[in-house]
């Protein structure tokens, strides 16, 4: 519209009256057109949207070739039996072992669009922030399933959504209820027990008390800790991750320190050294009472179906007699 006006204005600059008439005529015409468009929208928009949604709900076909860029959701796909359909995974996928032979297509920050397209997927599981990738895939008419990390409940919600999307509702329901049952069992096991004030560390410089990142009062790690019968010492800070200083740790004096790592720490010298690092904070009850625990393994850091194993391991550290 701006362009058409410009053209009209430059067409006859001498005869201003004529020009004015031309412009107003054009404007009227445009206004007329716009009115029609608006009317069209009013009349057709709602049915149109419902139609698209209807189409989407009914004709979204079951995917046969899935590429997953989110390790947690890869685990979910395998758990609900959609594993054979997975044809590509992210560079961070490790579990289950079936993924080791699958092509890698980059990850959160560096998805390899070309490689993804070459795998001819009919569903790509993306992280919510991968907006560029999602538009690219839309242009190639490839469906996406967008996911973002949330709390513990969100894992079960996602599991069921994924079941619906892949036509494996029954399997997803079985897995989800299984997880729910185990979570409920844990909850009743720790109910009424004193909740130790716990520092949940998920990242730290090796052998130093530097760059300590701990769980704050939101996110699945926090939910895991609360479910396992712990009280998060940084629960008042409503963030998923908090950079804790030695001062704040000393001041909040946790009864238990749980340090989770995706990779194992070899027992012996290295483990002793990591324990000795915490010993510097001698006044912290967790250190005094030797209640610093390292829990290693991917089930601690991947918000997938194995999350319940992670919670069970937390319970073992927080309430030693509760689980044998």
């Amino acid at each position: 519209m701006a362009l058409s006006e410009k053209v009209l204005n430059t067409k006859d600059t001498k005869d201003t009256k004529n020009n004015y008439l031309n412009t107003s005529a054009a404007k009227r015409g445009l206004a007329f057109g716009r009115k029609h468009v608006l009317a069209f929208r009013k009349v057709f928009f709602v049915p149109f949207v419902s139609f698209v949604l209807f189409l989407g709900a009914t004709t979204q076909p079951e995917p046969h070739r899935i590429v997953s860029l989110v390790p947690a959701l890869t685990e979910m796909l395998f758990a609900i039996g959609a594993g054979p359909q997975v044809v590509g995974v992210s560079s961070y996928d490790k579990f289950p072992t079936d993924v080791q032979s699958l092509p890698r297509v980059g990850a959160l920050l560096d998805p390899d669009t070309e490689r993804i397209l070459s795998l001819k997927p009919d569903l790509v599981i993306t992280y919510g922030s991968q907006v560029d990738l999602q538009t690219q895939l839309q242009r190639a008419s490839i469906a996406t399933f967008d996911y973002r990390h949330g709390g513990l409940d969100h894992i079960l919600v996602t599991l069921r959504q994924l079941g619906r999307r892949t036509g494996r509702m029954k399997e997803a329901e079985t897995v989800a209820t299984g997880i729910e049952a185990r979570i409920n069992a844990i909850k009743s096991r720790v109910a009424g027990k004193p909740r130790p004030r716990t520092l949940l560390v998920f990242s730290r410089d090796p052998r130093a008390l530097r760059n300590i990142y701990v769980s704050g009062g939101s996110g699945f790690l926090h939910d895991m800790l609360v479910t396992a019968g712990g009280q998060d010492v940084f629960g008042d800070v409503k963030r998923e991750s908090v950079q804790a200083t030695t001062e704040t740790i000393l001041a909040r004096s946790p009864d238990v320190i749980l340090e989770i790592r995706p990779d194992d720490i070899p027992a012996g010298k290295e483990l002793d050294e990591e324990m000795a690092t915490w010993a510097r904070l001698a006044s912290v009850p967790a250190v005094r009472n030797k209640r610093v625990y390292f829990i290693t393994g991917q089930q601690m850091t991947v918000p997938g179906p194995r999350v319940v194993e992670g919670i069970e391991r937390m319970v073992r550290a927080l309430h030693p007699p509760a689980v044998k």
Binding site: A107, L108, L109, D110, S203, D205, P206, R207, A208, L209, R210, N211, F234, V237, R239, V242, Q243, A244, T245, T246, E247, T248, L250, A251, R252, S253, R280, L281, A282, S283, R288
Partner: protein
């Protein structure tokens, strides 16, 4: 006589201010502590939380802040005088970029080789700084006309961009949790966690400051121009060499301790010059002292302003330092 008196007064005033800051800073923080309990010998160490917060959490921070601030500010003064360029900073000659690259590599590779309680990142950072110093010095002396400050400056600036590109490359190929750690390192962090890194950096800083102590008179002459300085009996090349190595060593040690904390090395020297004139016999010690106080105060703000969370100290030095410097600049002119 008059000059000497002036030097003494200015330096003593700065020393008093810095001392006051150093005494107050460890007593203030996100958690209130009682000094009477901190120094209460009758309480066992294990149960004295106040003493631990003071000695384990705050004192190493304040000490490292003071050392880093003093080193960066003094290095800034020396380099600005030597290069006769008011825009020179301790980070101009590529030393900090070398240090940063070293740290990035250590973080990306997940290196875990500690020596005497010092972890791999500060060690790698210091090695990176030394490599950068060697490269820049090698380039600046390659023309066999002694040490060319022009080549030094150009080589430094080029090396800076080159290392920055390598840093981006290393960050790109790293895992993104490591990439986050790397970015966080670049914002500066004085929470060193123990005394070992401070003790490790100390010998290098002492050497650098020993050289700084004999430099001021030469720097005064160098700022008048190399020819004038040479006519007044200054061995220009030797002086440049000493100034370059001492300033670079101080920068390398400071960066390995607290990361590349920006603005201290340029704002403090100019602030001090605006306050006390341009005689390096006053400016150098005053800048070192004021730099220590400034950095410790910025870190104090960083660790208390949004407690229990904390801001990276480099953001505070820039946020406080930048506007304050501009205000002073406008007011003076």
């Amino acid at each position: 006589m008059n000059v000497r008196k002036r030097i003494t007064i200015v330096v003593l005033a700065n020393a008093a201010f810095t001392l006051a800051v150093l005494l107050v800073a460890p007593t203030v923080g996100s958690t209130p502590i009682a000094l009477s309990r901190v120094f209460d010998q009758s309480m066992p160490w294990e149960s004295n939380v106040d003493a631990q917060i003071f000695f384990v959490a705050r004192l190493p921070r304040v000490l490292s802040g003071a050392l880093v601030g003093a080193a960066l500010a003094a290095a800034g003064v020396v380099l600005q005088a030597m290069l006769r360029n008011p825009l020179a900073t301790p980070f101009t000659l590529g030393v900090s970029a070398g240090g940063a690259l070293g740290a990035m590599i250590a973080i990306a590779l997940g290196l875990d080789v500690g020596v005497l309680g010092v972890t791999s990142v500060p060690i790698a950072s210091f090695i990176g700084s030394l490599v950068a110093i060697a490269i820049v010095y090698g380039l600046a002396t390659s023309q066999k006309r002694g040490l060319s400050t022009n080549v030094l400056l150009l080589a430094g600036v080029t090396l800076n961009s080159f290392f920055s590109a390598l840093i981006l490359f290393v960050q790109f190929i790293a895992d993104f949790t490591q990439a986050f750690r790397a970015v966080r390192w670049l914002m500066g962090d004085l929470d060193v966690g123990s005394y070992s890194p401070i003790v490790a950096a100390l010998p290098f800083l002492v050497c650098a400051f020993a050289v700084f102590a004999i430099l001021p008179r030469t720097l005064n002459l160098l700022t008048l121009g190399e020819d004038v300085a040479a006519a007044r009996g200054v061995e220009v090349v030797t002086a440049h060499r000493w100034a370059f190595f001492s300033a670079s060593l101080a920068t390398g040690a400071a960066v390995s301790l607290g990361g590349p904390i920006g603005f201290v090395g340029i704002i403090v020297p100019h602030l001090v010059r605006l306050m006390v004139g341009s005689d390096h016999r006053v400016v150098l010690p005053a800048a070192a002292l004021f730099g220590a106080a400034f950095t410790v105060l910025c870190d104090l703000v960083a660790r208390t302003i949004i407690a229990p969370l904390e801001l990276p100290v480099g953001i505070i030095t820039a946020l406080i330092g930048g506007p304050f410097f501009l205000w002073l600049l406008v007011k003076k002119s």
